[in-house]
Amino acid sequence: MPLMLSDFGMNLVTEIFIMAIFAMSLGLIMGYAGMVSLGHAGFFGIGAYLVAILGQHIGNTYLLLFFSIVVSGIIALITGAVFFRTSKFYFLMITLAFGQLVYALFWQMKPLTGGADGMSVSAILNFGFGDLFSPLSIYYVMGVAFIIAYILLRFFVESPAGKITKGIMENESRMQALGFNVRIYKLMVYALSGSMAGLSGALYSYFNLYVSPDLSGWLFSGQVMMMVIIGGVGTLFGPAIGAGVFIFLQNFMSSYTERWPMIMGMLLVILVMAGKGGIIHWLQHIQKAVFSRKKITQDTNNQLKEEEATS
């Protein structure tokens, strides 16, 4: 497949792989735990900067990726423990504040992070088989990472813990009354989501070789949410498709205009006003329409046969 794409195309798809992981992590908590987080980019930035900063001193890829996953996960656990004590309304706003806090920290700690100018990444991917820095090898790495992430999420969603989490989203009070420690499951899924977002940020560092505070900014949090919405809330793969669509759109638009935020805003407004659903749901709608038409004709046929038999 990569042979069909130019260097530019390959870079684009690589970016899509990374964003897809990020989008799926948000899709997990939005679609399976009913949590809307407006500051998910905070975890992305944490993962990215961890690689950028620690990568100056540590060369081991495994270690860096491990740190990104674990640190994001722990931060998710701690913040989640406090955030979940409040209602959904609060959660929304607090996660926004969280994202902005991370942004502000990166912005202000200039000696460490380079401040608003960002910093370059010197870390290089190396899984023990030599340094990987060609676009092609990075493409493969990200592709594999995406597949692994998807499989992990698939396992989680189908597992008892995953089903329980979904039950909590459907009716939290009943789950509590049935004997489930609702708190633990919420923390579990939020930590999973946060660590996966951190991982995607870390991968991004290796890919883009440059990080800036915007990676934790409001706009980026909004963008990843758009990816989830476009792809469809409530499915695992939908957000990944949404990421693909979005990145294409963004690249296409950016070459024509600087007013990308405005266009993104309009897209959001249109998406909402036109009714939510996303691509996968539209596909399902089409599927249902086609399928039920078949069923209707079959039912009518059966009915007619019955009537014939009795008359």
């Binding site: 409040t86 929304l92 502000a104 007013r259 407004v269």
Partner: protein, 286 residues
Amino acid sequence: MSIFFVQLLTGIAYGMLYFMIAAGLTIILGVMNVVNLAHGTLFMLGAYIAFSFISNELNFWLALLLSVFCTAICGVILEKLLIKYVYGKELEQVLLTFGISFILADTVEWIWGTEMKTLPVPGLLDGSISFGDTAFPIYRLFVVLFGCLLALLLWYLETRTRIGAIIRAGVDDREMVGALGIHVGFVFTGVFAFGAALAGLSGVLGGPLIGMYTGMDSEILVTSLIVVVIGGLGSWKGSLIGAVFIGIIETLGKVWFPSLSMLIVFLLMMVVLIIRPNGLLGREVA
């Protein structure tokens, strides 16, 4: 000692500004159950519109009035065209107002550019009062005073008029209130416009205090959200307490730990949430 006192007063002034913005947010939130993420952008819009008026030789106060009027109209348009279709749907509200804020913010950048701007302090309030050996700007005292007036107004509206009761009833049971002969849609538009007007007003008043720059909308939105969360959803009194508290902590924090002031405010919010998950004066929201 007098330096500390000046810092305190400065903190209160900023706090009052935050209260003005948060008041609009918490009213719309608590009374209509609408989360308006474009609130910070309306704040920004108010400031920039006033800037244009003032740049064209218009008096500060006139510019203030016109600016508030413009943002109120903006609020009416937004409510009638978009917001009213998403009542009761939280995710949709978030996405919609998110999108609106991007559109508005980018429009502001498009029209007015990206360089930092400031609004001049109106002639009447220019100058300072001396406290011991430090001078304190009169304008900041004015902001504190204005905040108190706003609090009084809100208290009056809430306890002495039927409006508060009508709005709350309308949120609970729209049909019933409509059957009583009250035009619910009209009331909702009015409330939203009021919130937007408050945002614009704070933007203009805040102009001389915090300046105008790209990204101010998300910054101020986050601050108001923290104020609302700490104070409690729907409680403007809570917002008042929370805002002043934050203003003081933030100002003092900037003096002692300049790069960590936001972290301190955030941690403060976490602490409040641990002790009182619904905010200081909040009530449980559906």
